[in-house]
């Protein structure tokens, strides 16, 4: 029943494009493939990420909706719940394979990610160091986050974060952070 989930995918896509969450615009990576979405997300106003434009790549498995979608940042971001590397993995309870519910709409996944930017979850971190900084030295965290935004999240969003260009695009992992 691949075509069945195709229908669901089409509906999810229609829902998301018709009434996208604030500050998001959604496109298909490739017109004929509903399984890969490119989402551009504007940093929520009032948060440290305001003014930045972040790329999100959503990959829907062939088993969707029975398996959770894979969502990662294409743009580097300084955030306790996002890996601080070119993979951009996100820690979101909703998406963990043990928590995923087949009835969850992608619209709510997008909302949740937006929520994560507005309010990071340091209790369930992917980057323990950043989480610690977020909890104990908010000033420093905000400074770092803003410099990341200025460095990576200005200008047009690029979605080409394939593993091959890891070395080409980013310098060494820690050196990428402009001011530390």
């Amino acid at each position: 029943m691949a075509s069945g989930s195709q229908k669901r995918l089409a509906k999810e896509y229609a829902d998301c494009t018709k009434t996208p969450p604030t500050g998001m615009s959604i496109h298909l990576a490739n017109e004929s493939d509903l399984h890969k979405w490119h989402v551009t997300l504007e940093g929520p106003a009032g948060s440290v990420y305001a003014g930045g434009r972040f790329g999100l790549i959503i990959t829907l498995p062939t088993d969707y909706p029975f398996k959770a979608p894979d969502v990662r940042f294409a743009t580097r971001i300084y955030h306790p719940n996002v890996t601080n590397d070119n993979q951009g993995g996100i820690c979101l309870g909703l998406l963990k394979s043990g928590n995923w519910k087949p009835s969850t709409r992608l619209l709510s996944v997008l909302e949740a990610i937006r929520g994560l930017l507005a309010e990071p979850q340091p209790d369930d971190p992917l980057e323990a160091r950043i989480a610690h900084e977020y909890q104990n030295d908010r000033k420093e965290f905000e400074k770092n986050a803003r410099s990341y935004v200025n460095h990576y999240a200005k200008g047009p969003v690029k979605f080409d974060v394939a593993p091959p260009n890891v070395n080409a695009s980013g310098s060494s992992k820690d050196g990428a952070a402009p001011s530390r």
Partner: protein, 598 residues
């Protein structure tokens, strides 16, 4: 009537009858014969018809699991539900594609609609294969990921040449707006074979829920732990609503629209576009039913396209013209539009703005004859014959409705007459139970509507002043007649229902009587066996007087000979008095010694 211990099966049979009465008059004798174990699941009685999908493929008795011992044999073993492929065939041999594997392990709420994609045949060249597979096969990649259908996929050719591809309900196009509450939260299409979870009351398609539970045994909405075999039940109200949704036939090229309930009939029997097995028994591909007819033989040979010169499979020619034919378009001679060549006829007949056509109200007197674009404007506002044309058209529609009603009434009448006849025969045989059921004739007044004026334009010579007056009069007449018909049908319906109820009441009584008789018989047997055991025991103990041995059978039980008889009868009396204490009302003869009689 004796009120003996009532077998549990009969009790459920009653409720079964109560349930099914409203649907179809069940063939009671046949039912009693088959229904050794009535369809009760978790204390609920299954309805006769759970889903239309099965109505045709499985005659009603398919819903009865066979009596206990074979029952286990035909069901898939509980822990390996995937293995049970062609099971229900033991009851009713079903065609291969409708083989009733049961979704959700031990649940036989729904027979599984066949999910396996059709056999793919590797011989066809790539271009043609992709085309035909797009049209007919569900994506094979998905099936390979699932062990369940693997066994069926591997059988490349289908033994039953009349099998059809299953309807993919999740791909249907719905014509009516579908209420959001009828959408499955997993596939987000209207439910197909809905199942509701018992602990949390969420509803899903059987196939969706099945797959979700395969991955983790939790409700896909709120993650309540679910046991697939126990915690789901079907949802009748939802089914009724779903049955009424209007859908378009899923076959490419077919414009048929009907209630979803009726779709399988159209798809399986009538649709000319349904893909059936190639008439050539050696060919495993499929062709549209229309193409399979006649002596065209196998259409999976190659031919050269007359427009572009490509090699194309005969069966895929239409598709080739529409999709990837290089020289497939041409200029319309009237309007210069570029049109797919083999659609040119349709273009001139329906779309071309420059082709000369007549006003659609021509039958009512308009003489307009101009290019289509002009005529369309004319039809929309200028045509003076529009009003009368509309009226006449409405009237024609009304007439069709009346004719249909007429047919229905006469069919009902026919049925009533038949049951009347049956009733008469029966009361002749069994001494008339129900008097006073009026004969059919009084409900059937003259139904002949044909005397009403038929030809619309007759108002010219009539007493009406204008066509409008004439039409209005006609309308009033038709309306009142339709009202009459409606009343008649309702009346008939009422009588019919009463008649049915009366009939089944008697049958119910008879069944109850039979039930109690069986109970009494059972007691007889117990009593006889008791007596027998008793006398054997006495013999083994080496009794003194009585005739030793064989006089024990039925006769021996009732009147045992010799000296031991007294003891045995004493025993029997004790047996019966004790069973009376338990509350079984038994009749005794005056001497109080004989066992109860039937």
């Amino acid at each position: 009537m004796l009120a003996g211990p009532r077998c549990r099966n009969f009790t459920s049979l009653y409720s079964y009858l109560g349930l099914s009465l409203r649907h179809i008059p069940p063939d009671i004798p046949a039912l009693v014969a088959q229904c050794a174990t009535p369809p009760v699941i978790n204390g609920r009685v299954l309805p006769t018809t759970v889903h239309t999908y099965s109505r045709r493929a499985h005659p009603p008795q398919a819903w009865f699991p066979p009596p206990s011992p074979p029952h286990n044999a035909t069901m898939p073993p509980p822990n390996t539900p995937e293995e049970g492929v062609p099971t229900a065939g033991a009851v009713v041999p079903a065609p291969a594609n409708t083989s009733a594997t049961y979704i959700l392990g031990r649940h036989h709420l729904y027979p599984e609609p066949p999910v396996s994609p059709p056999p793919r045949v590797p011989t066809a060249p790539p271009a043609a294969t992709t085309e035909s597979s797009r049209a007919t096969t569900p994506n094979p990649s998905r099936s390979s990921s699932r062990p369940r259908s693997a066994s069926r996929d591997s059988s490349a050719s289908c033994s039953n040449r009349s099998c059809l591809l299953p309807i993919n309900y999740q791909d249907l196009h719905y014509e009516t707006e579908v209420d959001k509450s009828l959408e499955c939260p997993i596939c987000r299409t209207p439910f197909h074979l809905p199942l509701t979870t018992k602990p949390c009351g969420h509803t899903f398609c059987a196939s969706c829920l099945d797959r979700a539970l395969e991955i983790q045994p939790l409700c896909p909405i709120d993650r309540t732990p679910l046991d697939a075999s126990r915690d789901v039940c079907h949802t009748r109200i939802v089914l009724d609503q779903l049955d009424r949704l209007r859908v378009r036939c899923p076959n490419r090229g077919c414009d048929y629209i009907c209630a979803r309930e009726l779709l399988p009939v159209h798809y399986e029997r009538y649709c000319e576009y349904t893909m059936v097995h190639c008439p050539d028994p050696d060919c495993d591909l499929r062709v549209a039913r229309a193409d399979a007819r006649g002596d065209r033989g196998c259409l999976h040979t190659f031919t050269t396209c007359q427009y572009c010169g490509k090699e194309v499979m005969v069966a895929g020619l239409e598709e080739h013209y529409d999709a990837d034919c290089g020289g497939h378009t041409a200029k319309c001679g009237h309007c210069n539009a570029i049109v797919v060549r083999h659609r040119m006829e349709k273009h001139t007949a329906k779309d071309c703005p420059r082709t000369m056509v007549a006003c659609k109200w021509r039958p009512f007197g308009c003489s307009e004859w101009a290019p289509r674009e002009v005529v369309e404007k004319h039809e929309q506002g200028l045509c003076v014959y529009q009003a009368i044309g509309r009226l006449a058209r409405d009237r024609m529609e009304d007439r069709m409705i009346i004719n249909e009603l007429k047919e229905r009434v006469s069919a009902m009448d026919e049925r009533l007459r038949k049951s009347e006849k049956k009733e008469k025969n029966r009361s002749r045989d069994g001494g008339g139970h129900f008097g006073g059921i009026p004969s059919a004739a009084p409900f059937m007044p003259d139904l002949d509507l044909n005397h009403s004026p038929r030809a619309a334009p007759s108002y010219n010579g009539g007493t009406w002043e204008s066509p409008e007056d004439y039409m209005l009069a006609q309308f009033e007449r038709i309306e009142s007649r339709m009202e009459d018909l409606r009343k008649m049908i309702m009346e008939l319906d009422g009588h019919h229902t009463m008649r049915l109820l009366n009939d089944t009441m008697r049958l119910n009584e008879q069944i109850a009587e039979l039930g109690s008789k069986v109970g009494v018989l059972g007691m007889h047997t117990t009593w006889l066996m008791n007596v027998q055991r008793q006398s054997r025991g006495q013999q083994r103990a080496g009794t003194t007087g009585g005739t030793p041995g064989p006089g024990i059978g039925v006769a021996g039980g009732v009147s045992g000979g010799g000296g031991s008889a007294g003891g045995r009868e004493e025993e029997a009396r004790r047996y019966f008095s004790s069973s009376n204490d338990v509350g079984l009302p038994l009749r005794r003869n005056s001497d109080g010694r004989n066992p109860p009689r039937l």
